[in-house]
Each structure stands twice: as C-alpha cells, then as structure tokens.
C-alpha cells in the first residue's frame, strides 16, 4: 500500500538552541530527510560597516570587537593591520610578538568554543562544552590580565598594542601552555574515538575540495576538505614566518574532519605561542602614531587567518581622520554559503551537526 506523504516545512530559528545566535533555516523535510533548506540571516545586522565610516580609525577598534565576538583579538589584529598598511606604520617587534600570542590564544579559545558547541549540537549533554569552557576561561583570565576585559578586548592599537603585558602574565601563560596539550589529549579520549561521534560525523556533510575553493571557503573548513591553505603560511603577516608549525588538513571534508582539524590547530597554536614566548624581544609595544591619524589617500586590504577563516578588512582613505569605506570580509558568512549544499539529502539531526561544524558567529555573519 502506498501511503500519501507530503513534505513538511519546519522553521529552525531565529530562536533555536542550535542556531548559535539568531540564524534561521527554513527546512523542508520529507520524513526526516532534508529536501530543501533556505538560510535566512540578517537578524543581527547593526550596520557596523556604515557606522565605522563615522568614526576615527582608533574608534573603530572597539567596533571590530563586536564582529566576531568569540575572536575579538583576531578582529582587532586584522583591522589594525589594514590601517597600518594604509598609513604605512611600522610596528615594534615586541608588539608583533604580543599580537601573535594573543591571536593564537584567541584561536584556541575560539576553537574550544566551536568544538564544545558542536558536540552540544550532536546531543552531548553539555559535558564536552563544560570541559572546553574550563580551558577557555583560563585564556579569558589571561586576556583580562593583559587588557582588562574578557570578551571585547580592544587590545590592539594602530602601531602596536595598548599595553605591555604585566609581570605575572608570562608565568601564567607558561603554565597554561604546559597544561593545554594534556587537556587536548583528554578531549580526544572523550570524543575522538567515540563510536557514536564517528557514526554521527564521518561522511556527513562532505564538502569536496573543488567545491570549497569555488565557494571561497576558508579556514578550518577549507583545510578539512584537504586544501592546504593557511594565510599564516600562504601570505605571512606580522611575524608568522618566524615560527615553525604545521597546517593540519583533513582527508574527506566531512563533519568529523572539520572537528579534527580544529583540535589539531589548537595543538599547533599552543606550539606557536610557546615559540613566541621564547623569542619575545624586549622593547616598546607601541610606535608613535599621531592622535588623529590621517592616512594618505588610497586603499588597503589586510587579511589574517582568524579562527574561522580568512578575515579581511578593506579600507579606503580620503585623507580624512575617518575611513571613507570600511568593508569586512567575514569568513563566517562566506563559509555559511555552502550550508544548503552540505545539508541536502541528510537528516534533520545532521543539518544541526553540519551547521555546528561550520562554526558561525552570527555577529560576524550579519555585522
């Protein structure tokens, strides 16, 4: 007997525990299988790109904190790099190293959050999330020690960083960096070989390398698809060319690989921080920059490898103290564009897992 069936449309979000903010998916199901998926976003649009045109170059820095709020340091970093390129400002060595240390710590913190939230999406009852938050909290402690805030750091300045690190920072960082590989090992024990995790993630939401490149995907998501593209290596900025680290790549580009690449990147980041600590030179942390900076006419684009991918800032100057145009290349948004292709044909639960593995921050998607 043939039963008459019809597809049903379910609205995931904008308020849903697994959309990581105010993201909405209009999903059409045939039973539990996804036949159509339409991402809807823009609920968190604040017009930061437009707002920034009315702020001086320094005043924009706190705004960049509020793009990808899980990786504010990286946002600061990319923005100040763009301004420095525009105004041709030299940055002291020590500041360069401090920036790298902060950016790599930020990467660890952001990946911890990404992996923790991903396992929540898979249905783990908050345990990996809590364990990873514990380590993230330690990083936030360190950031608080350096710049006084735990989430919106506003630490980097045009021509350096706002403060030198306090005395207590390096021993505390050393302790964290010594501990961290043990904790990553523990996450692997908890999750990496778990049969349910493997069954849920292996082969799910495969993103082939050519498709990833065509869609301009970047970051861990691209590397999970097997493309060895890391801006720290491909177009070294700051002092990244002085460190020895690997670029982990996945084999298949499935959800598991995206998780795996993030875990490996945390290992590499601890490695980079360690090297940066050893090489950290003494000296100034901020070069002399005029209070009201008026970069010469022109444009500049600077990009970094943020925890989510290629984060770029494009600035146009008309020789006034305010940027004429301020544009963000937000990796979250561009990585999100393949969501529909990844999800079609998979089940309801997989859509959630795939979205979790893309690791979006809605504040960056919508800006």
């Amino acid at each position: 007997m043939a039963l008459k069936t019809e597809p049903v449309m379910i609205n995931f979000g904008p308020q849903h525990p697994s959309t990581h903010g105010v993201f909405r998916m209009r999903v059409t199901f045939d039973g539990e299988v996804i036949v159509e998926l339409e991402p809807v976003f823009g609920y968190l649009h604040r017009g930061i790109e437009k707002l920034a045109e009315a702020k001086t170059y320094t005043q924009v820095i706190p705004y960049t904190d509020r793009l990808d709020y899980l990786a504010s340091m990286s946002n600061n970093f990319a923005y100040v790099l763009a301004v420095e390129k525009l105004a041709e400002i030299e940055v002291p060595e020590r500041a360069q190293y401090l920036r790298v240390i902060m950016a790599e710590l930020m990467r660890i913190a952001s990946h911890l959050m990404a992996v923790g939230a991903f396992f929540n999406d898979l249905g783990a009852f908050f345990t990996p999330f809590m364990y990873m938050f514990r380590e993230r909290e330690k990083i936030l402690d360190l950031f608080e020690m350096v710049c006084g805030q735990r989430l919106t750091y506003n630490y980097m300045r045009i021509g350096g960083v706002s403060h030198d690190i306090p005395e207590r920072f390096l021993p505390a960082l050393m302790r964290f960096i010594d501990e961290m590989p043990g904790f990553i090992e523990e996450y692997d024990w908890l999750l990496a070989e778990n049969e349910i995790v493997l069954a849920r993630t292996k082969g799910v939401g495969v993103l082939p390398a050519d498709k990833a490149i065509n869609a301009s995907i970047s970051g861990p998501m691209l590397r999970a698809s097997g493309v060895k593209w890391d801006i720290r290596r491909a177009d070294p900025y700051s002092v990244y060319d002085r460190f020895d680290f690997e670029t982990p790549v996945g084999l298949r580009g499935d959800t598991y690989d995206r998780y795996w690449v993030r875990i490996q990147e945390m290992r590499q980041s601890t490695h980079i921080v360690k090297q940066a600590m050893q090489q950290l030179p003494a000296g100034e942390v901020r070069s002399k920059v005029p209070a009201t900076l008026r970069p010469p006419k022109g444009e500049a684009y600077a990009h970094i490898e943020s925890p989510r991918g290629e984060l770029g800032f494009y600035l146009v100057s008309d020789n006034s103290p305010r940027p004429y145009r301020f544009k963000v290349r937000a990796p979250s948004l561009i990585n999100l564009t393949v969501l529909r292709d990844l999800c079609l044909g998979w089940k309801l639960a997989d859509a959630i897992a795939i979205l979790g593995s893309i690791d979006i921050v809605l504040a960056e998607v919508d800006r």
């Binding site: 249905g123 908050f126 364990y131 514990r134 501990e179 024990w189 069954a199 499935d254």
Partner: protein, 526 residues
C-alpha cells in the same frame, strides 16, 4: 505471603470481603505512590548534582542544605506556572496525554519486589505484566506530540513510536534468557533464583537489556524524543505547568522503574549481606540510575536511522542468539552452575567483537578495535572528573578578584586633575560622554559631566585620551538597575562615588592592587 495479603486476611475477619479487599489496596497504593514520588524527587536531585560533578560544576546547592530542596523548589515553580493549551491543538488529546504517559510508569511498581514480602501484587506473570504496561507509555507521548499541533512535537512523536516499538523487541528477548534460567515469570521467584546475580550468568542479556531500557526511557544517547539541539523539547514543547510536571515525573518514574527492573532481573534484587534487603534494593537502584546519568553526561545522541539500525541490526540478532545459547545451556546444564559465568562472559565478548565488525561507519567497516572502546574511553574521562574539584564559584559569597587592569562598569573621575579639555568626549566611539565647561580662572571648569553607562562600551579610549590622568576605569563589576536612566551617571555622582581605580593604561598603579584570581595561576603561586 506478602504484607498486603496479610493485611487483607486480617481485615477480612472483621469487614465484608469487598472492603477488606479494597482498603488495603488503596492504602498500599497511597503508600507506594508517595514513596515512588519521594524517590523520584531524590532521583532528580541526585542526577542534577551528579551530572554537575561529571561536568566539574557544583550542581544545585542553594535551596536547603546541599540544595536538597531544589526538586521541591522546581516543583513549586512548575506548579505555579500558567497552564497553556495551544489554541490550534486538540484540547482533549493534549490534556490527557500527560496522564496516560505517567500512569503506566507508576503501574510498573505493582509487581516490583522491594523486598521478599514488600510487593504490591506478586503476580505469577509479573514480567509479562511489566512488558505489557510499559509499552503503554508511548501512547501518551504520541498523543502529546499529535495534540500539541506543533511540528517539532510531531517529529518527536513519530520518533517515539518508531523507537519504542523497535526497542521493545530486544528488551523482551533479552529477558527471555533470565526466564529460562529462573524458570518463572514471577518477579519474586526470579530474585530468589539468583544465587549468582544474573548479570554474571547473562552478561550479554544484561547489556542488551540495559541499552534497550535506556532507549525505552529515552535516556541519552537515545533521547531523540526531546533532543534539545534538534527538536528543542520534542513532544512536551507545548506543555507547561502541571502537565509538564507530569511528563517530567513520568520520565523519572520510568527511570526509577527501569532501574528497579534491572536490579530485580539481573542484580539479585534485595539480596545482599548485612544490610536489610529493601535497603540493598534501593542502593542497587541508585547505582543503576547513576550508571544511566553517567552515560548521559558522556555520550552524544544517535541519529534516528542509526538508532533504528542499532535496534534491528545489532541488539535484536544478538538477543536472539543469546536466547538460543541460553536454551542450549539449559539443556546441557539444567542447574546453571556458577562456573557457567566464565563461559558466558567469553561468549558475550566474542559476540560483541564479531558483531561490531558488521557495522559500517561512512561506508567503511568499523575496525576491530572499536567494539565500544571509544565509548568506554569517554566514560573513563567523565568518571575521572567526578573526583576533581568543581571549578564554579559560589558567587555572592565567594568573589573573584578582577585583574588590576580590569575595565569595570564606571569611570573614576578626578575632579581636581581635570582641565575640561573634552579629550575623553572626543575619543569616545559611542559619544556617551556629555561634558560642558565654562571658562574659569585657571583653565576650564567642568559644569556638567554625564556618562550613559547603558551605552558605554568600556573600551577605555577615554582613559587613554586623557592628557592629565583625570580619568580612570573602575574595578567594580557589580552594577544593576531596573531603569535605564539610573545608568546615566552625573557629575555629582562621579564626585561622590568610591574611587576604585583600575590600573588600566596606568600600569604603575598595579603594584598596590590585589592579585587577580586565576583558574590556572602561575606555578610559583599555586
């Protein structure tokens, strides 16, 4: 002869037979259900605390000593909530569903022997009664999903039906082994037959029963019905107030019931040394329940097709084989000597290893190293966390010291140092500093200074802009108000405020400040 029957016989001497029958039954029902609900409250408490410890948290510890009143507080909260019936839903189906979900779970206890004589009704087909009754609960779940007229709950309801029916099969088959050994369907005789607990004689049956039971009561990793990350709360998404409370109770009553059945069938029921039997029974029940939430706090959820595949391709054939093997053993060794447990454990291990080879993950055969090894690894990690110190802080009593550079929620303004240059107002990215000055004898005099901390970003740029060290960040982190205008701080308030300066931008202030509390302090300090 159990306690209830003795009571009946005694009453029958004085009262007509119908009253002598009815009164003890009602009394026993009242006593039993009160006891069950109390245990359920303890269950809820134990689980929340236990899961907290697995997750290096403290768990609820505010209501009453050690938080033991937390379930009571929860109950009061739930009961005082508004009772909502979805306007487009099916009113009566919606109303009846929680009741139908709750009572089968309660009815299971009729045949659970808490001790030799403490049993409501020692049916000679006790186990059959349990199987029959426990499959009724799914009707309530389905009604809830259907009657709510909500797509999430409908998905949940469909999952519920599929899951319950599938897992019922291995559940029943795994009991068959126990029945063959004990030769009885009565719960008390099954317990009495266990000189060696049956989980040793029937390791495979025990494992299958445990897994299938976890699926029956929708515990993780089989909690697809209420999968929070997917279908939010599933079938009870539209429920509130007392009806939600009934679902909540049903869930935990069912967990209690299943734990009790596991104890009765496989863990030797009330058997134990030194302590009274009923106490042993409850200890074992709590151990089983502990294992359930230990698993819950470790594993992620299966997908719906994997869930069904696991039931039909793995548990079902293994349960069949188990029945087969047990039957052969019963022919060869009718007495089931305890030595048999060695053989059975070996057989179980072999079967699990062989069977895991049949499973495919992403098209590739799962290697032989993976017969649940990863899950066991995960379980050891969560278990080891049980003995670690919780990292959460008892906030109002125990305060963390913020970093000396902490950018707290108010600015500290030094009136004497201020020259009224307005650099701070110009530096502010969100223009929340409102400053008006008049010309005085020595420079500018600040007439008005108003900062809207409701909009302030605490970015610290004003402090950095100040040329004369008149503006500091504050180290306070507690400020709350019910009205937005109270967040606008005036000049007078700035002058009167306690000056808790932060060392932000002025690192020379750091020396006299207390050390920041760190989760991982540097080595020499710890």
């Amino acid at each position: 002869m159990n306690v209830l029957e003795q009571f009946h016989d005694w009453l029958a001497n004085y009262w007509p037979s119908w009253a002598a029958y009815l009164v003890p039954a009602l009394v026993a029902f009242a006593v039993l259900s009160t006891f069950i609900l109390l245990v359920v409250l303890v269950f809820i408490y134990v689980e929340r605390r236990g899961v907290g410890r697995f997750q290096v948290r403290r768990g609820p510890n505010r209501a009453g000593p050690f938080g033991i009143l937390q379930p009571v507080a929860d109950a009061v909260k739930i009961l005082t909530k508004e009772d909502i019936i979805p306007s487009a839903g099916d009113r009566w189906v919606h109303l009846l569903a929680p009741v139908i979900a709750f009572f089968p779970a309660l009815a299971i206890f009729a045949v659970i022997p808490f001790e030799g004589r403490a049993i409501f009704a020692d049916l000679n087909v006790g186990i059959l009664y349990i199987i029959a009754i426990s499959s009724l609960g799914v009707i309530g779940t389905f009604m809830a999903g259907w009657g709510s007229n909500n797509k999430y709950s409908l998905v949940s309801a469909m999952r519920a039906v599929a899951q319950m029916i599938s897992y019922e099969v291995p559940l029943v088959l795994s009991i068959a082994g126990v029945l063959i050994i004990s030769g009885s369907l009565s719960m008390t005789s099954i317990v009495e037959a266990q000189e060696v607990p049956f989980f040793l004689l029937q390791p495979l049956g025990f494992l299958i029963f445990f897994i299938a039971a976890a699926a029956e009561i929708q515990r993780s990793p089989f909690d697809l019905l209420e999968a929070e990350s997917e279908i939010v709360a599933g079938y009870h998404i539209e429920y509130s107030g007392m009806k939600f409370a009934l679902f909540y109770l049903a869930e935990y009553t069912h967990a209690f019931a299943i734990s009790a059945i596991v104890v009765t069938l496989f863990l030797g029921g009330w058997h134990g040394v030194l302590l009274p039997g009923a106490l042993w029974f409850m200890i074992k029940v709590f151990l089983v329940f502990g294992a359930l939430f230990w698993v819950r706090s470790t594993l992620p959820r299966l997908r719906v097709d994997q869930l069904m595949g696991f039931a039909w391709k793995c548990l079902f054939p293994l349960a069949l084989i188990n029945v087969f093997i047990t039957a052969i053993e019963s022919v060869i060794w009718p007495e089931f000597p305890w030595q048999l447990l060695i053989l059975n454990i070996l057989i179980a291990a072999l079967l699990i290893v062989l069977w895991s080879g049949f499973f495919r993950v992403a098209g590739e055969r799962v290697s032989f190293q993976r017969y649940g090894r990863g899950i066991i690894k995960g379980l050891t990690v969560t278990f080891s966390h049980l003995f670690r110190r919780p990292i959460t802080v008892q906030y109002p009593e125990q305060r963390l010291t913020p970093a000396p550079r902490f950018r707290g929620n108010m600015l500290v303004w030094d009136q004497d140092a201020c020259i009224g240059c307005r650099a701070c107002a110009r530096a502010c990215p969100v223009s929340v500093i409102d400053i008006e000055t008049t010309k005085g004898d020595k420079g500018q005099i600040v007439e008005k200074l108003e900062v809207d901390f409701g909009r302030c970003l605490f970015c610290g740029l004003c402090v950095e802009a100040c040329p004369v060290k008149a503006m500091f960040m504050s180290r306070d982190y507690e400020q709350a108000s019910y009205r937005r205008e109270q967040l606008v701080v005036s000049k007078e308030q700035f002058v009167a405020a306690e000056k808790r300066r932060s060392a932000y931008f002025y690192p020379d202030l750091e020396a006299e400040m207390p050390l920041q509390t760190l989760l991982a302090p540097p080595k020499e300090e710890s």
